[in-house]
């Protein structure tokens, strides 16, 4: 009966194409919405995994999160490196990872940090080793893929965080060397170039005599617990010093490059994991009381950020569902009028020996075929649109949006389209099922 259903669809190709297109439009919109929103939510959640709090310079908390966690925005500023020690001294802090931003290589951010950052994103080396000496760097999977950089390759960072920034200048006095390449993680880490904080300082000619927080933290970075203990003990007097002289902290932040007659060691932000739930209540408030520091909670800022799009997404989804309803109505109308127009055909089929169920099945198959074609075309269009958008807008590409990925929710959309097609065909099919042979034939005589 599929063959006959196809023949009838072909017989009114114009209407069929219109219905298929209408449904495809609805499915494509729904699929694109699903892919984008799922990707955005998933990516936001995954990039922020393990980060309970971000401490950085005062400014917009959203900007701090976007810059330090998602590497999408410019940082709010820098904070004195003592902040790290201060945080590590706090019993509420289980882990504090510094980030030093400022440069990029072909648009990929060079991030000065500690090996613990890799654990945050589940990054593993596929090649080489971690950075050890100054100016050694490990590159994310996408950086390696896009730039073609390999182990041992030297590269120069440019000032600024984006590839095309005005007045970008190469730090040609200080080339980095790639010592390791990371496996893809599907997180922002794929797009980062990781090195030690000191290397970032070196590039900018900032004098320093020890690693931030601990002189040895990066030497035994594989043993994270050990590094933390070590740092904790070591940081103790730093913390006291800062507490004893809060004005000094403020001064450092207010004129970061002027402290002690030259550029002072600073970090851009610190990613904090709590040691206990109680810290979530105490720590942000305590930090925000400091005039130079701000603490932002990724989950809160992300949620606030995403609610900006809630209305738009809901609106777009409603529109797509409206199109889907219009498509169903159109399929229904076309099938019903077609069933009427070929009442004679259906009666003839019955006389030729087709059972009522078979006639019913033929019309139902027409609805389902239209729905299936519309759904498949819609999937195709949806994925193509998402892929095109990901390529056209770096921000979308940057969150790992891809038209080549399949979301399980698409099965739902597919099933929904088929159900819609079946429902739209049900009444016309029932009309075919009930055909009064004698009356139809008498009319046709």
């Amino acid at each position: 009966m599929i063959g006959l259903a196809l023949a009838y669809l072909r017989d009114r190709a114009g209407q069929t194409a219109l219905n298929v297109l209408l449904l495809a439009l609805a499915v494509a919109s729904l699929v694109a919405l699903l892919l984008v929103s799922a990707r955005v939510e998933d990516r936001f959640a995954r990039d922020a995994a393990g980060v309970d709090l971000v401490v950085g310079a005062k400014g917009s908390p959203l900007q701090l999160i976007l810059s330090a966690v998602y590497h999408l925005d410019q940082p709010t500023g820098n904070v004195p490196v003592e902040t790290l020690a201060l945080l590590r001294a706090d019993p509420g802090v289980a882990r504090a990872i510094p980030l030093a931003l400022g440069d990029n290589f072909r648009g990929f951010r060079i991030v000065g940090t500690e090996p613990a950052f890799l654990a945050l994103h589940g990054s593993k080396l596929v090649e080489g080793r971690l950075w050890e000496a100054p100016m050694e760097a490990v590159i994310g999977a996408e950086v390696a893929r896009r730039t073609g950089a390999r182990l041992g390759q030297k590269f120069l960072g440019s000032h600024g965080l984006g590839a095309d920034e005005e007045g970008a200048m190469a730090h040609d006095h200080a080339p980095f060397v790639v010592t390791g390449i990371l496996a893809p993680t599907g997180t922002v880490a794929d797009r980062l170039i990781l090195t030690s904080v000191e290397s970032v300082w070196d590039v900018h000619g900032i004098a320093h005599d020890e690693a931030p927080g601990s002189a040895h933290a990066h030497d035994d970075g594989h043993d994270h617990g050990h590094a933390h203990d070590h740092g904790h003990a070591h940081d103790h007097d730093h913390a006291h010093a800062v507490k004893a002289d809060p004005a000094g902290t403020e001064g450092g932040a207010a004129s970061p490059l002027a402290a002690r007659g030259g550029p002072a060691p600073e970090v851009t932000a610190v990613l904090v994991s709590y040691a206990s739930p109680a810290a979530a209540i105490r720590l942000p408030a305590a930090i925000n009381r400091q005039t130079a520091l701000q603490a932002a909670v990724p989950a809160q800022e992300t949620a606030r950020f995403l609610t900006l799009f809630d209305g738009a997404i809901a609106g777009a989804r409603a529109l797509a569902l409206l199109i889907a309803a219009a498509a169903a109505l159109s399929i229904f109308t076309v099938l019903l009028s077609a069933a009427r127009a070929r009442a004679g055909d259906l009666a003839l089929l019955r006389v030729m020996g087709a059972s009522p169920a078979r006639v019913f099945g033929t019309i139902l198959a027409e609805g389902l075929l239209v729905a299936a074609a519309g759904a498949l075309l819609g999937l195709l269009i949806g994925h193509a649109a998402v892929e095109a958008a990901a390529r056209a807008f770096p921000t979308l590409g940057g969150i790992g949006l891809s038209g080549l990925a399949f979301h399980p929710g698409e099965w739902g959309i597919l099933a929904g389209a088929l159900v819609l097609g079946a429902l739209a065909a049900l009444v016309p099919a029932a009309a075919g099922f009930r055909t009064d042979l004698a009356a139809t034939l008498a009319r046709a005589q």
């Binding site: 017989d11 070929r342 003839l348 046709a444």
Partner: protein
Amino acid sequence: MAPCRYLIAPVMLLEVENLSFRHPGGGGVGPLGFTLAPAEACLLLGPSGSGKSTLLQLVAGLLTPETGTILLDGEPMHALGPAARDDLRRRTTAIVFQSLRLVSAISVHANLALARRLAGLPPDPGRIARLLERLGLAPLAGRLPRALSQGEAQRAALARALVTEPRLLLADEPTSALDDAQATAAATLLLDAAREAGAALLVVTHDARLKPLFGRALVLGADGRLAEDAAT
């Protein structure tokens, strides 16, 4: 099919007794009775409104009789339920209507293939090709029904009916739209094709031109009863 049907094969293909049917409006046919032997060709004549089409639909199992019995190939058509009646018709009978000749969305050839499939017969491209050739339809096999002329469509409908190897071929006004020469040609074709296929033929018409071609004619009176059953 039980083997006994072959052991005691009915002498008559069709046996109608005391058959009557009334439409809601009061028109109808009967009561009447007649028989038809296998491969016998018979005309069904009568004035307009006498019940010729109604009788044909009763024999085809498309209407349920009010009184009387219809034995088709030994099976009591009148006593069967809708599904069993559909099945009996499928196995024994093909019908050619004045309009409604072919399934509109598929080609002439596809119509013949579909007819065999719906009749529960195995595909037989050789038979389809021979039949199309015999009826002068071979060059038109790939055409959609709407691209056929009246006469071509009529022959295609005949091919569609014969391709299912029916025991009984029913035709309602198959020549009404044709001129004298065409009508005679079409009727001759119908007779020859049925004879070749071994099918009994019952042809409704008020077209007296066909009378000389058929060996027998049933004539209905205005009252819906059988007025005459005569060899012509």
